[in-house]
Amino acid sequence: MITIEVNGRSVRAEKGEMLLSALRRAGITVPTLCHIDGLTPSGACRICVVEVEGQRNLVPSCAFPAADGMKIRTHSPRAVSARRTIVELLLANHPDDCLYCSRNGNCQLQTLAEELGVRQRRFAGDRTRHTLDTSSPSIARDPAKCILCGKCVRVCEEVQSVAAIDFIGRGSRAKIGTAFDEGLNVSSCVNCGQCINVCPTGALTEQSHIKEVLDALDDPNKVVVVQHAPAVSVTLGEEFGLPAGADVAGAMTATLRRLGFDRVFDTGFAADLTIMEEGSELVYRIKNGGRLPMLTSCSPGWIKFVESYYPDFLDNLSTCKSPQQMMGAVIKHYFAQREGLAPSRIYSVSIMPCTAKKFEAGRPEMGNGTDPDIDAVLTTRELARIIRMRGLSLLDMPAETADTPFGERTTAGKLFGASGGVMEAAIRSAHYLITGEEMGNLNVHDVRGLNGVKEARVNIAGLDVGVAVVSGLGNACKLLDQIRAGRSDLHFIEVMTCPGGCIAGGGQPLGTSSEAVRSRMKALYSIDNQEAVRTSHHNESVKRLYAEFLGEPLSEKSHHLLHTHYTRREVLV
């Protein structure tokens, strides 16, 4: 440990630690637009400049290592004035349409301009003109609003190992774009939306489905059904001022009914259904010499990643559709039949923590010809927007429960929201499927937590099963490379595209900190602790679905509706 002097106070720092992190730990706020904790500092935005005694120029604190005895002034007139000038220069090339921007009120550039007291346009000049990229089904890019901080580029490359985008060109023509500056839809982008979560401005947003959903709700001929994913109920509250991890499942269900949805279903039900199918598939593969390790297929960004980057692993992917799509299929088939409705009258909406789900819903595998099983996907953020738009008060809603036949879920299904949850749910049920008995202790602690890679060995009736859980595609790459190199002790691998799982998905509330992700995860496990039914195979509604409609897991009907195959995708990688 070393000591530095900051604004006349002494502050402890690690040797070689960047100034910004030491300052933050000491509770000193230095603003920044380009810094991401844990990733390579780029020093791109220069907002975090501070004055260091003995240095002629201001230094970017995010990329300047602390040294013993260093004397720093974080808010000297010179530093603050430099920050203001930088913001003024950024604004000189930024559209003045804050009122129309999706990030209005939630924009770091706007906040900074306000904090630094920017009250007039000091620099006027030509603005760089750009075209919108709305080619992607998940993510819309408006390069005019981009301030070239490069956070999206770093997340895409360093966290996800996708590197779909990079800086193109130079100087005043520089911009962010894909290889050969083509649309995001034909690039190697996996639609995860992590870039949206780090974008300080409105340059990256989700492709909104709000209008389509409101139109459907307004259409008297449509029966509008909605499902909500396990990770949404523990994050939606944050949009309305609740602390991270507050579970608003009951109030959200009530709110969705007030919005006019005819039926409210819980994707956790479909997660339980997924476990029955996927667990049976795993057991079948192990017993019949099928391709192992089996890889989970719930996370649509991950699926596209395998199709583009690791096509040799396509046969390792579970053939199970994701819970969203299983729910979509049983809604338009079983539910429609049960209610005597033509599937075309049903408008099926899902609330997801995810932008890739928008892409998944439009995949040709996920429906019947031109009729998709899921008609629209809203992110957690979009749902919050609709709730505010309709003047509903989430916090004052009574707790209500979801509708039959797909409203009942077990806590195993709920755990799908966190990295490791699918694995834990699968282990609980696989044990039962193989031995006919429940596990003595249902908790599988080795697969819990926020580590990017978790591994465990599970003994089921003498069968030694090797499992791994990874989140963040960069971590998945490392594991797949080990398997390519000959590693063979693993049977089942859960992969979530986003680090931490769906609770940190690309459709979740903006400005999420790692503490918030931790709290959300804790909330899911505390639900698991408190409720009585904790295994998917004890979901009574799932049992009824099998008895009345599907027959049994991996039946012909299941294969037709709940399973699919993916194929190699040619993109520039």
């Binding site: 490359e157 990079d166 193109i168 060109g169 130079r170 774009g177 290889a179 520039l572």
Partner: protein, 163 residues
């Protein structure tokens, strides 16, 4: 689509890392005339770099192009003397006439456009160079005539082989 075997070039850079990117790009362009999508992918595999990164680096420099050169390659001097004598307007007019940007090739393959720094003919400013032939004192009005003279040189069957 013309496929060019890049292996002879890449083999000269065994176990290369990203430091070798620019020399490789230069050699490939020398060999192929431009950087094709296939070339970018192959270089990416060799250096284990994503295509977006290679495209990003290549677009940083004026020297790299991503379309084959046209039969008539126009270089517009943007050196200081030419600038003072109005080369910016010359470049704008060329772009408008040909309906392409610098670095691009017309769809019929007739013309390609490149911006170059001083080509050492300051006395002739503003100057453009077509297929190695210098045109002195170019004005926005004389451009149409210069382009026409090259169009006339093209044989009637020229358009077919470009397809």
């Amino acid at each position: 689509m013309v496929t060019v075997d890049l292996q002879p070039i890449l083999q000269r850079y065994p176990n290369a890392s990203r430091d070798a990117l620019i020399p490789i790009l230069q050699e490939v362009q020398e060999h192929q005339g431009y950087l094709s999508r296939e070339a970018v992918v192959e270089i990416g595999k060799h250096l284990r770099l994503p295509a977006s990164k290679i495209y990003g680096v290549a677009t940083f420099y004026n020297q790299f192009r991503f379309q084959p050169q046209g039969r008539n390659h126009i270089q517009v001097c943007r050196g200081t003397a030419c600038h003072v004598k109005g080369s910016a307007a010359v470049l704008d007019t060329l772009k408008r006439e040909l309906k392409i940007d610098a670095g691009q090739t017309t769809r019929d393959g007739q013309f390609s456009l490149e911006v170059v720094a001083c080509i050492g003919a300051c006395g002739l400013a503003p100057v453009i160079c077509v297929n190695g032939e210098f045109h002195a004192g170019v004005t926005t009005k004389s451009i149409a005539k210069i382009l026409d003279s090259y169009r006339r040189k093209a044989t009637p069957n020229d358009g077919n082989e470009a397809a």
